[in-house]
Symmetry: C2
Subunit: 385 residues, 2 copies
C-alpha cells in the first residue's frame, strides 16, 4: 500500500464535516481514526504502540516493513491498511452525524483511561457527553433472555437512579439493558448506550427508535468505526467500556454463562464497585447474578439505595482517594453506611488499637466522613444522598 | 435459704435415675444443674464465675452473702436458689427420659466451647449425640412465615446434605426450620433441634410428633432445665447454640428483622461460615437473607454444593487451623474451590510477591491443599466431597 498522508492538510481534509471539538488535534485524530480501522477493539499491541509513540508515529511504525517486535501484530493490521476503508468509515460517520472524540478532547470520558493500553483510540458518539464527566454513573446490564421480574427490577433501579441524576449506562440489548435505558428515559434522566458495532447501525434493529431517543438526551457510543458490524469479539470488548465508564456495575439477571459476567469481570479488574440483584435460586435467569455474588464477591443489590451506597463507596474509595490517608481508608473500610458499629468493633475490623480507632473516628467525625447515631454507633456518612 | 448440700452423696442422690454418662463427675454435674436453674442462658457473670472457680465453688460464692464483684449478679440468682426448683427440674427430666451432659463428658459437643463464658452449663438431650462430634454440621434456619419457595429450597438443601452425612441443625420452628428437619429425616439423615425451653415440652406444640422423630435418630437439645418455658430471651440465647454447633450457618428465608439474623450475627461473631439463600428482592421473606449477604458479607448459597464448599472452607479454615501457618491461611484465603486463579492473581489477592506465592502454592500442592487444573489455574482442594 501507499504510505498514508498524515499531514495536517490531509487530516483536516479527511475530517472535514465530521462532528468534533473545534480545537481538536486533527493529525492525532486522523491517525487515531486509522488505528480504529486497523486494530480490533482492545488490541493491546496497538494500544501499547500508540501510548509509547503517539498515534501518528505509531502508525508510521505499524505500516513500515520493519522486522521488529511489532511484526506479528503488523500481520493483522496490514490487511486493513487501506485508505479506502478509512474514507468509507469517515463518510459513513458524516452521513450518520456521529461526533468524533479523542483522548485529548475536553469531553473525553476520563474514566475510560483506567483501561490503560486497552483505552479506545477514538469514540464515535451520537448525542453529547458534556454532562457525563461530573455525574455519577451506574451500569445496569443483564440477560437478553430476562424474566418479567428482572426487567421490572432493572426498570425500578434505573428509574429511581436516573431521576436523582445518576447516568444509567448499558448495552442497548433486548431484556435487562433495554428495560434500564427505557426506564431512565421515562424519568427524563440521561442514559448512555455502548454499541459493539458502528453507531450508525441500530443493533438490535428492534431498538432503532430506542437508540434515537437515547441519543437525543444522552449518548450512543462506540469505539468501532461507523459501518462496522457487531461481532462477538466486539461485544466482549464493548463490555470493558461499559464497566470502565461506570462508577458501579450492577448485574440484574444473567444466565450461568451470560456475557454480563464478562462485564462483571472487567468491573472487578478495574476496581469498579460491582453488585448483582439476587433472584430465586430456582431461576436460571439469576444464576449469573448469583455467580457475581459468590465468585466476584459482588454486593447484593436489592434497591436503588443499595446502589447509591455503592456509588458513595465508589466515590469515596476510588475517585477521591488522593485526599485520604491510609489510616482513614482502613477506618472507612471498617464502617458501613447502614450498620452501626461500636468503637471496639471498628477497631477490631480495621486492625487498630482501641484508642487509635477512637482518635481516628473523632477526626473523621469532624471531617464529616463518619457519624455517630443516637444509638452510640458509628456509621460512614453517605456521600451520594 | 439453706446452703445447698453439694456433697458427692447428695449429688448422686439428686441425679439418680437421670440419663447420663456412667463416669460423669456427679458433683460437678449437680452444681451445674443448680447453675442452669439459677442463671438464664448466656449469663456471662455466671459463665465467668464457673470458668474461674469450677461449678461447685462458683456456686458457693454465688450463694454466699459476700459483698463483692458478684453482688449485682447475685441479686438475680438468689431468688431462684430454691432446692425445690432443682428437684422439680430433675424430676421433670427423669420423667421425660432426658439425658444430662456436662462439658467433661465424652459426648459433649466441643464446638460449643467456642462460646467461652457463654458456654452452657449443661445440656439436656432427648436422643443421642455419639455421632455428632465427628460429623460436619450445617445449620439451616429461617423464618416461620416462610414462602413455598423458601420451604422447598430449605428441604432440598437439607435432604441433599443429610443424605451425604452432614448433620442438619435447626430450631424446630414452623416454616424453614421444620422443612429442614423433615427433609433430613426423609433421607435417613440425622438432624439436631435446639429448643428454647425444656426438652420435655414440645414447642411449637404442632411439632410434637416431628420432635419425637428427630429425637429417635438425632437429638433434641436444650440448655434450659426441663419444665422451663421458651421465653423471648431464651430463643435469642438458643440461637447462639445453633450457630456454635454448626460448621456453617445458612439462612434460607428471613424477614427484615427476623430472629434468624440473630443466629447469623452469632455465626459471624463465632467465625462460622455464614451464608444465605437469595430470593426475589420483591419478596419480604428474603429481605433478611439479603441483609446477611450485604451486611454480614454472607456467602450466596444456591445449592447443596455451595454449602459443601462452605463446609470445606470451615473445616480447612476453622477446625484444622492449628496445623497451618499464617502464610498458608492467606494463600488458601486467596483461592477458591470453584474459580481457577493464576499465580499472579493469587499473589495479588494474598498480598505475596509472585515468587513467594509460587513457592507456597508448590508446597500446598504437595500437601494436597490446592490443585492445579488442566487450564493451569489454581483451585483449593475440596475437603468435604
Amino acid at each position: 500500500m501507499t504510505s498514508p498522508d498524515l499531514s495536517t492538510d490531509a487530516a483536516a481534509a479527511a475530517l472535514a464535516g465530521i462532528g468534533r471539538e473545534p480545537d481538536i488535534d486533527v493529525r492525532d485524530a486522523h491517525a487515531r481514526v486509522w488505528w480504529s480501522v486497523l486494530a480490533e477493539p482492545g488490541d493491546g499491541a496497538a494500544g501499547d504502540l500508540v501510548s509509547r509513540f503517539g498515534a501518528e508515529d505509531a502508525l508510521r511504525i505499524a505500516l513500515s516493513d520493519a522486522d521488529d517486535e511489532w511484526s506479528s501484530a503488523r500481520a493483522r493490521w496490514m490487511p486493513r491498511a487501506d485508505p479506502g476503508s478509512i474514507r468509507h468509515a469517515l463518510d459513513t460517520a458524516r452521513r450518520a452525524g456521529a461526533t468524533l472524540l479523542i483522548p485529548s478532547d475536553s469531553r473525553w470520558p476520563h474514566r475510560l483511561d483506567d483501561l490503560g493500553a486497552h483505552t479506545p483510540h477514538v469514540l464515535w458518539v451520537r448525542g453529547d457527553l458534556e454532562w457525563l464527566e461530573a455525574s455519577p454513573t451506574v451500569a445496569i446490564v443483564g440477560a437478553r433472555a430476562a424474566t418479567p421480574y428482572g426487567e421490572a427490577v432493572a426498570a425500578d433501579l434505573a428509574a429511581e437512579l436516573a431521576a436523582s441524576g445518576v447516568i444509567v449506562v448499558s448495552g442497548a440489548a433486548y431484556g435487562i439493558d433495554g428495560a434500564a435505558h427505557r426506564a431512565a428515559l421515562t424519568t427524563d434522566g440521561r442514559t448512555v448506550a455502548f454499541l459493539a458495532g458502528g453507531v450508525d447501525r441500530a443493533y438490535p434493529r428492534g431498538h432503532e427508535a430506542l437508540l434515537s431517543r437515547i441519543a437525543a438526551s444522552g449518548a450512543v457510543i462506540s469505539e468501532t468505526p461507523c459501518g462496522a458490524a457487531p461481532t462477538k469479539w466486539r461485544f466482549l470488548s464493548r463490555n470493558r467500556l461499559i464497566a470502565a465508564l461506570a462508577d458501579a456495575v450492577v448485574i440484574v439477571e444473567a444466565g450461568h454463562r451470560s456475557g454480563s459476567l464478562n462485564t462483571a469481570a472487567h468491573a472487578a479488574q478495574l476496581g469498579r464497585a460491582l453488585g448483582a440483584v439476587p433472584g430465586p435460586v430456582t431461576s436460571a435467569a439469576s444464576a449469573g447474578s448469583h455467580r457475581v455474588l459468590r465468585e466476584f464477591d459482588g454486593v447484593c443489590v436489592t434497591s436503588a439505595a443499595d446502589v447509591r451506597e455503592m456509588l458513595g463507596d465508589a466515590v469515596t474509595h476510588g475517585r477521591q482517594e488522593g485526599t485520604r490517608t491510609d489510616d482513614t481508608t482502613r477506618l472507612l473500610d471498617a464502617l458501613s453506611a447502614r450498620v452501626g458499629r461500636d468503637t471496639e468493633d471498628v477497631a477490631r475490623r480495621a486492625g487498630f488499637a482501641y484508642a487509635d480507632a477512637q482518635a481516628l473516628l473523632g477526626l473523621a467525625e469532624l471531617e464529616g466522613r463518619v457519624a455517630r447515631g443516637a444509638d452510640g454507633l458509628w456509621r460512614s456518612a453517605r456521600r451520594s444522598e
